[in-house]
């Protein structure tokens, strides 16, 4: 097996610093948004006592789920022993850490009492999925961190496979945990299904890989390094499988729900009468997130790099739409306390709740994305994460 040279990106060009500054600006906006929300309270957001989890949760859960998926490439390399993926593994690990950091920050800064984080770290209720997630997330940082270390430091290289396997198993549990955050809510009908956790896992594969591909391509294009078609096409094929699997799971999920009479109401809401949520489901989640990327990737267009990037972008956009429908749509649909009766009250019982995200929420979410990208940008400058070249010849040598 031929060896590969990893090298830091130079990161001294104007372009690098512009990127760095631009991301930094969004991080700053995010901080300001948090400050506003913290100072005035959640009254400045679009969230209320009906829609209690809003846009920040959409961003946060998306980032956390994608973080787990971004580790995919590394897992394939070490757990499934595919040498071709080995040079791609370090970026995969760092990106996954960065996305996790961004997601957690958004989640935590959206708390009503974000100043009391220490309480969340010292008081635990082990019946709560949330508590388990706190441990899953910290464990993730630890394990992926160790894994990254085994990849970067030759002296501990022999542990790489063990660390990689541990991280792989851990992040499967983690995504199950994130999915279960919702699955345990007996009150919300949309979540009344065991499919949620496996669905989150497969979604994480797709979203994480889409982000990974975009970051990889951007990093190589902007640093003038060669990224051969072999790598691109291989990852593209993987993306096709994942996106198709997502589509399959979504269809099965809704079909099973339609089978049970008690879910008919909420299903009709998402699939037919939900206004913005129905639109987001069909146009966002299904067409933009699944069908369009599949068409692009499977047709002749999928041979062109730009189109692959477009497909990745669509998968990400579709992923956001899916999170929006899952998290906010489920809350918009009224709780059915008295089945068959028309409810009316000052607390918006029995009505479909509306939600308009506010600027602070949007910028808090974007701030999380910016942090993730900023960390990645900085990490590839200071650490040897990217192979100096990934041209077809180098990659081909790895396989033999």
């Amino acid at each position: 097996m031929a060896s590969i040279t990893f090298r830091e990106v130079e990161g001294s060009s104007l372009k690098y610093w512009l990127l760095f500054g631009g991301l930094g600006l969004f991080v700053l906006f995010g901080a300001l948004a948090w400050n506003t929300m913290h100072h005035y309270g959640h009254v400045v957001t679009g969230m209320d006592n009906q829609i209690v989890w809003g846009l920040p949760h959409v961003f946060a859960v998306f980032l956390i789920v994608a973080a787990s998926g971004a580790l995919n490439v590394a897992s394939i390399a070490s757990v499934f022993n595919k040498p071709m993926y080995k040079p791609l593994a370090p970026l995969s690990a760092i990106l996954s850490l960065a996305l996790m950091l961004g997601g957690l920050l958004v989640l935590v800064l959206d708390l009503g009492r974000s100043d009391r984080l220490i309480v969340a770290m010292t008081h635990f209720n082990f019946k709560s999925m949330f508590t388990w997630n706190v441990f899953l997330y910290s464990g993730f940082f630890g394990l992926v961190g160790i894994y990254l270390w085994t990849m970067l430091d030759r002296t501990v290289k022999s542990y790489s496979k063990a660390a990689g396997t541990a991280a792989f198993i851990w992040r499967l549990i983690l995504t199950t945990g994130t999915g279960s955050l919702f699955g345990f809510l007996i009150a919300r009908e949309l979540y009344g299904t065991a499919m949620l956790a496996p669905m989150f896992i497969i979604m994480s594969f797709a979203y994480g890989l889409a982000i990974y591909l975009m970051v990889l391509a951007a990093a190589y294009a902007w640093t003038g390094r060669t990224l051969g078609d072999a790598v691109m096409m291989r990852l593209k094929g993987l993306l096709v499988v994942f996106v198709a699997a997502v589509l399959y799971f979504v269809v099965v999920h809704h079909m099973t729900n339609l089978y049970f009479a008690k879910f008919h109401g909420v299903e009709a809401f998402i699939l037919r009468d939900g206004g913005i949520f129905t639109t987001l489901f069909w146009v966002g989640q299904i067409v933009i997130g699944c069908v369009a990327p599949l068409v692009i990737l499977l047709s002749g267009l999928g041979k062109q790099r730009t189109w692959i990037m477009v497909a990745c972008g669509l998968v990400i956009a579709g992923g956001m739409a899916q999170m929006y429908v899952t998290i906010i749509g489920a809350q918009a649909y009224p709780l059915d306390m008295f089945p068959g009766l028309i409810e009316n009250s000052s607390f918006y019982d029995g009505v479909v709740n509306s939600y308009t995200p506010s600027m602070p929420e949007l910028f808090l979410g974007l701030g999380g994305v910016a942090i993730a990208l900023l960390v990645t940008t900085f990490a590839i400058k200071v650490l040897r994460l990217l192979p100096a070249s990934l041209d077809d010849a180098t990659v081909a040598k790895l396989e033999h």
């Binding site: 005035y40 309270g41 959640h42 009254v43 969230m47 209320d48 006592n49 009906q50 209690v52 989890w53 708390l111 009503g112 009492r113 974000s114 009391r116 984080l117 309480v119 969340a120 008081h123 635990f124 209720n125 019946k127 709560s128 999925m129 949330f130 508590t131 706190v134 955050l181 345990f184 809510l185 007996i186 009150a187 919300r188 809350q331 709780l335 306390m337 008295f338 068959g340 009766l341 028309i342 409810e343 009316n344 009250s345 000052s346 607390f347 918006y348 019982d349």
Partner: protein, 258 residues
């Protein structure tokens, strides 16, 4: 329900005894207005004694007596507990509501039912199960509360409650709270069954008092563990239902006439 009543020193103390013990415990006891003594006390317990699981506080709502258009219970709650009535709030969608009037209508028969909806003080509360910090908790006597010292405002409990009983305080309250009812920005809150009144020995909630005062008598509060209590007797006489009984949460609020 077959649990025996506790030993003799826990049997309902007379108001005088309770006041006496309380007064002896702290010199400031002398500040208590004498008028309070005349109050009927259902379950006085000495001040230094913790709430006991021998008691389970609950409420019986007789929807057949709940009057359309009347919201005396809601007003009484907001006055007692210091939350702004939703009509006066600048942000009605974000304003907390501990109790609300619910109008139900059968689309087929047009029959209307009125009832107050509030925290059901579940014996198996989903809000407590999901709370990451343990801030949501069930007190020994069955009252489900939020400990605002440890609530981080994650709103997971609001997502979990099947009755939409909980609210987040969305804005600063600027020292408008009642001394007996601390509540504040960024924390979640809900009906406390007037825990401050219960601990004082009032033996009734503000909403039930108001309903009785208005002559409707739709709300009856009391100890569901005590077979001799008014509420237990009525529960034996009247057919009652739990809202969303399918969830099996064993609710502390029972409804008649729904």
């Amino acid at each position: 329900m077959s649990e025996l009543k506790p030993m003799s020193d826990q049997t309902p103390a007379s108001p005088e005894r309770r006041r006496f013990v309380g007064g002896a415990a702290a010199a400031a006891g002398l500040a208590i207005a004498p008028g309070v003594m005349l109050h009927q006390v259902a379950h006085g317990r000495p001040e230094e004694q913790a709430a006991s699981s021998a008691v389970r506080w609950g409420m019986l709502v007789d929807a057949t007596k709940c009057a359309a258009g009347c919201d005396d219970c809601v007003t009484a709650c907001s006055t007692e507990n210091g939350w702004t009535p939703v009509a006066e709030s600048k942000h009605p969608k974000q304003a907390p509501q501990w109790i609300r009037k619910l109008e139900l209508q059968d689309p087929l028969t047009q029959v209307e039912t009125n009832l107050p909806m509030l925290c059901q003080h579940c014996a198996e509360p989903p809000c407590v199960d999901v709370c990451p910090t343990g801030a949501s908790f069930k007190r020994a006597d069955g009252i489900v509360l939020v400990n605002r010292h440890t609530c981080i405002g994650c709103r997971y409990c609001m997502m979990a409650c099947p009755y939409k009983a909980r609210s987040l305080v969305h804005e600063p309250l600027n020292d408008t709270q009642k001394p007996d009812v601390p509540r504040g920005i960024g924390c979640v809150e809900s009906c406390t069954l007037c825990v401050q009144k219960i601990d004082r020995g009032d033996g009734n909630t503000a909403c039930a008092e108001a309903c009785t005062a208005a002559g409707h008598n739709a709300l009856l509060f009391g100890d569901m563990n005590d077979p001799e209590s008014e509420i237990s007797k009525r529960l034996r006489e009247l057919p009652t239902k739990q809202v969303r009984a399918d969830l099996n949460l064993n609710l502390g609020v029972r409804y008649h006439g729904i």
